[in-house]
Amino acid sequence: MTPPAPGHGPLHLAAAVDLPGAFDAAPYTELARLAESGALDFVTLGDSFARHGPDALAVLARVAPDTGRVGLVPTVTTTHTEPFHVQAAVATLDWVSHGRAGWAVDVSATEADARLFGRRRVASREALWREAGEVADVARRLWDSWEDGAEIRDAATGRFVDRDKLHHVDFAGNTFSVRGPSLVPRPPQGHPVVVVDATDGHTRETAARHADVALVRAASPARADSVRAELHRRATELGRNRGKLRVFAALLVDLGGGEHAAQPGHGGGPLPTADGPLYRGGPVDLAELIATWHGAGAVDGFHLTPVEPRRDLERLVNGTVALLQHRGLFRTFYPGTTLRDHLGLARPANRYAALAGGPS
C-alpha cells in the first residue's frame, strides 16, 4: 500500500492535561473526558522524577475506566528506570484501557534527577537519547515476546501456554540487557503508541526509528515541514514505511484573548517562547491556523498544551474543534476503539511470529 501523500491524511488532534500541583484523580478525569467529548486522538500527561506531581502513568491508568475512547499517553522516562518495568507498565496501561495506551518517551538529564536515585552520573543528552532508543527497542521486543494466541488452555495436554509462542528477547544494549520474555501478554494494540518529541536534534534518530507519533515544537509550518521531511527521510533509510510515522506540530495555546483577537504583531501565528511556540488568540483563529498548516501538508496533526488547562481546553474543544468538525476537517466521533485506530496505524505484526513463519 502506498503511504498517503503528506498533508492529505486526516487531521489528528491531541491535548496535554497537565495540572500542576493536582494529586486527586477528579480534575484529570474531567479534562480527559472533555478531550474525549471533542473526539481528540489522545491526551498526554508529562512527567519527570523531580516534578511536583503524581506519577503520570498512574494518573492515566486511574482515568482509563472513566473514559471510553480517548488515547492515554503518559511520559515515562528511561534514564533511572528499569526497561523491563517500563514496558510492563505501558503494556498494562494498554490492557486496562482496552487498547488506548501510548508512551511519551523522555530522559532524565539533570543532576537533581540523578541524586534522587544515586545510581548513575549525569550523562550527555545524546547518550541518554541513545539509551532511550534502546529502551523503546527492547520494549517493543518484549511486547512481541508473547505471540498472539500464546495462551492455549489445552486441557488434554495440561498446557496453559504454547511455549513455542513465548520468546526470550536477549537484548543487549550499551547500558543494560534484558533476557525476557515479558510477564505481560501482548497488549491489545500489539505495541502501544510510542510518542517522541523530535524537536531537538539528538532526539530525532530515536523518533525516526521508534516513534509512531513525533512531536515538533515549531512556530511556522515551514519549520514543521522541514523536520517532518528529515524524519521521513531517515525513517525510510531505516526501512520504515514513512506512512506509519505521524508528525504533529506542538504548540502552547492561550485562548484567553477573545473570539478572534490574535496577538497583535504576529498575524495569528505562534510566538517563540522559552517553553516553545505559543499561540495566543481566539479559538476561531486557532482553527484557521490548524486548517492552514494541515491543508498545506506541513503536519499530520497538532499537540496542544493549554496554558490555563481548564479554560483553554474547554475553549479548544467547544470552539476550535467544533469549528473544524463543522468544516468537515475533523472527526465528529470515534470510528474505532483503539488509539492506533484513531491514528490510522495498523496493529503491528509480531516480529517473532514473522520469523517463525507461523500464524500471527
Binding site: F23, T29, A58, R62, P65, H80, F84, T92, L93, V96
Partner: protein, 473 residues
C-alpha cells in the same frame, strides 16, 4: 457480571461501627488475593475466565468491596519460570503490572484497599515511594505495598541491576528500602484544611544500600504512609514485620508449596496461635502495640450445602489444581531426573532422587530431595496412592472446607483464639472465585458479630484500625 444482593445490603446502617463486636470479640479483617500464576488457580474449569483482561480484576475487586473486604491483593511476576531451560507451560502464566491495575481499579471501587506486591530488589526507593504515594492519592487513601525480595540471578537477567544479592543483603536492602520510603513520605507536612501545603523539606539518605538526596515530588498522601505488608513467616520475616510492617501475610507462598509446611486450616489452630503469639511478642521491642500489626494468613475456602458436598467439591478442585502433567513435573523437580514417559497413574519412581540436580528456576524448591522423596513414598505406601494422587495429597492445600455456617464458625474461631487477625482469601477461580463466599459466608460472619456491616472510614488504615503514622524528622 451477575448482580446479587447479600443481606448486608438491607442491613440497618444506624449503629456506629466499632473495632470490637457487640459480643466483645475481635472483628476480623478480610482480604482477597487475585488468583495467581501458579497451580492453585484452576484454568480448566468452564467458568475460568481471563487472567489478564481488566474485567476479571474489576469483577473480583467489586465482589470484594461488596463483601466489605479490607483490601484486594495483587501478586507480581518478574521472570517466567523455566524448567530444564524451557518456559514452564503447565500453569496460569502472564499477568499485568500490579500498581497500574490498582490505579485503574481505584476508578471502579470506592472503599476497598488496593495492595500491590512489589519487589524491593529490582526497584529503587525514590521511584517506588513515588508510585505508591501516587496510588494513595489517586485512590483516596487505599494503597498498600506488599514488600517482597528476590534472590536469584535468574530473575536479575531482566534488570539493569542484574546479578544477585545473598540472603542477608536482600534483607538489609529491603529494610533500608522501606525505611527510606518512609523518610520520603515524611518530607511533606500534611496539607492544612485551608490553603496549599508548604514546600517539602529536602531529604538526604546516606545508607549502606542507598545514597540519595533531593526533594520528594509527591505531597503527603491521605494515609501518610501507604500500608506496608510483609509476606512470609521466616524468622527474619517475622522480625522485619514486627519492626516496620502493618500487616503480615503468613502461611502462603504463591508459586511454592513445600510439603509439610503448615497452613491455616482446621487442625493447625495451635500452630497458628504459636506463630501469632511469637510475632506479636516481637512488637514491644520496637515500641509498638500488639494491635499495630495485623496477622492475616492466606487461606482457601470450599463451600457446599452439606459437609459431604463440600468435601467432594474440595477433592474435585484438588484434582483440577494438580493435573497429571503437573504431578509428573513435581516429582521431576524432587527427583531431579527426566520422567517424561512415566505413567502418572503408576507408582513413584523406584530410583532415589539425584541430590545434585538443580532446582527449577524461578520457583521455590521443595527442600531436601531425599527427605521429601522418603515422605512421599511413605504416604504412597500407607494409602496406596499413585504418583498423581500422592502429589495431590502433598501439595494441594485447602484451609476451610464445609457449609457456609461451618466455615464462618471456623474463621471466627481462629480469630477468637488469637490465631489470626483476619484472612487473605485465595480463590482458585478467576473471576468468580469470591462470589459464593461474599454471598453466603460474609452475611453469616456479620450475624455472628465478627465482621463489619459497613465501612467505617474511607482509608485502608481505617479499615484495618491502624494508627496514623507518626511523621518523623
Amino acid at each position: 457480571m451477575t448482580r446479587t444482593h447479600s443481606p448486608r445490603t438491607h442491613s440497618p446502617r444506624t449503629h456506629t461501627p466499632r473495632p470490637h463486636s457487640p459480643r466483645g470479640g475481635k472483628l476480623m479483617h478480610l482480604a482477597a488475593h487475585f488468583p495467581g500464576a501458579d497451580n492453585t488457580t484452576v484454568w480448566t474449569d468452564p467458568a475460568a475466565g481471563s487472567q489478564i483482561d481488566f474485567s476479571s480484576f474489576e469483577h473480583l475487586a467489586r465482589t470484594a468491596e461488596r463483601g466489605l473486604f479490607d483490601y484486594f491483593f495483587l501478586a507480581e511476576g518478574l521472570r517466567l519460570r523455566e524448567h530444564k531451560g524451557r518456559i514452564h507451560d503447565l500453569d496460569v502464566v502472564g499477568r499485568p503490572e500490579p500498581i497500574t491495575v490498582l490505579n485503574a481499579l481505584a476508578a471502579v471501587t470506592d472503599r476497598l484497599g488496593l495492595a500491590a506486591t512489589v519487589d524491593a530488589t529490582f526497584n529503587e526507593p525514590y521511584e517506588l515511594a513515588r508510585r505508591l504515594a501516587s496510588l494513595d492519592h489517586l485512590s483516596g487513601g487505599r494503597a498498600a505495598w506488599n514488600v517482597v525480595t528476590t534472590s536469584d540471578a535468574f530473575t536479575g537477567e531482566n534488570f539493569r541491576r542484574g546479578g544477585f544479592l545473598d540472603r542477608a543483603d536482600r534483607c538489609t536492602r529491603a529494610a533500608e528500602f522501606v525505611a527510606t520510603a518512609r523518610e520520603l513520605w515524611d518530607t511533606w507536612a500534611p496539607a492544612g484544611p485551608d490553603g496549599p501545603p508548604v514546600a517539602p523539606r529536602p531529604f538526604a539518605h546516606h545508607g549502606q544500600h542507598f545514597d540519595i538526596a533531593g526533594e520528594f515530588g509527591v505531597e503527603r498522601s491521605p494515609q501518610g504512609h501507604p500500608v506496608v505488608i510483609q509476606a512470609g513467616d521466616t524468622p527474619e520475616g517475622r522480625e522485619f514485620a514486627a519492626s516496620t510492617a502493618d500487616v503480615v501475610f503468613t502461611g502462603w507462598r504463591p508459586g511454592g508449596h513445600p510439603p509439610g509446611e503448615h497452613s491455616t486450616r482446621h487442625g493447625t489452630l495451635e500452630a497458628d496461635r504459636a506463630l501469632y503469639a511469637d510475632v506479636k511478642s516481637r512488637l514491644a521491642t520496637y515500641g509498638r502495640a500488639p494491635d499495630e500489626l495485623k496477622i492475616m494468613p492466606g487461606v482457601t475456602v470450599v463451600l457446599g450445602d452439606t459437609a459431604a458436598e463440600a468435601q467432594e467439591r474440595a477433592a474435585e478442585i484438588r484434582r483440577l489444581q494438580v493435573s497429571p502433567q503437573n504431578a509428573l513435573l513435581a516429582v521431576e523437580q524432587v527427583w531431579g531426573v527426566d520422567l517424561s514417559g512415566h505413567d502418572p497413574d503408576g507408582p513413584l519412581p523406584a530410583i532415589d532422587p539425584d541430590p545434585h540436580a538443580g532446582p527449577v528456576q524461578g520457583r521455590a524448591g521443595f527442600g531436601d530431595p531425599l527427605a521429601v522423596a522418603e515422605q512421599w513414598r511413605a504416604l504412597s505406601r500407607a494409602k496406596g496412592l499413585s504418583l498423581h494422587q500422592t502429589v495431590i495429597e502433598t501439595t494441594a492445600r485447602q484451609s476451610f472446607i464445609g457449609t457456609p455456617d461451618a466455615v464462618a464458625a471456623g474463621l471466627a474461631e481462629f480469630v477468637a483464639a488469637d490465631a489470626a487477625d483476619g484472612f487473605v482469601l485465595v480463590p482458585h477461580l478467576t473471576p468468580g472465585g469470591l462470589d459464593e463466599f461474599v454471598e453466603r459466608v460474609v452475611p453469616l460472619l456479620q450475624e455472628r458479630g465478627v465482621f463489619r456491616t459497613e465501612y467505617a472510614g474511607t482509608t485502608l488504615r481505617s479499615h484495618l484500625g491502624l494508627p496514623e503514622p507518626v511523621r518523623k524528622g
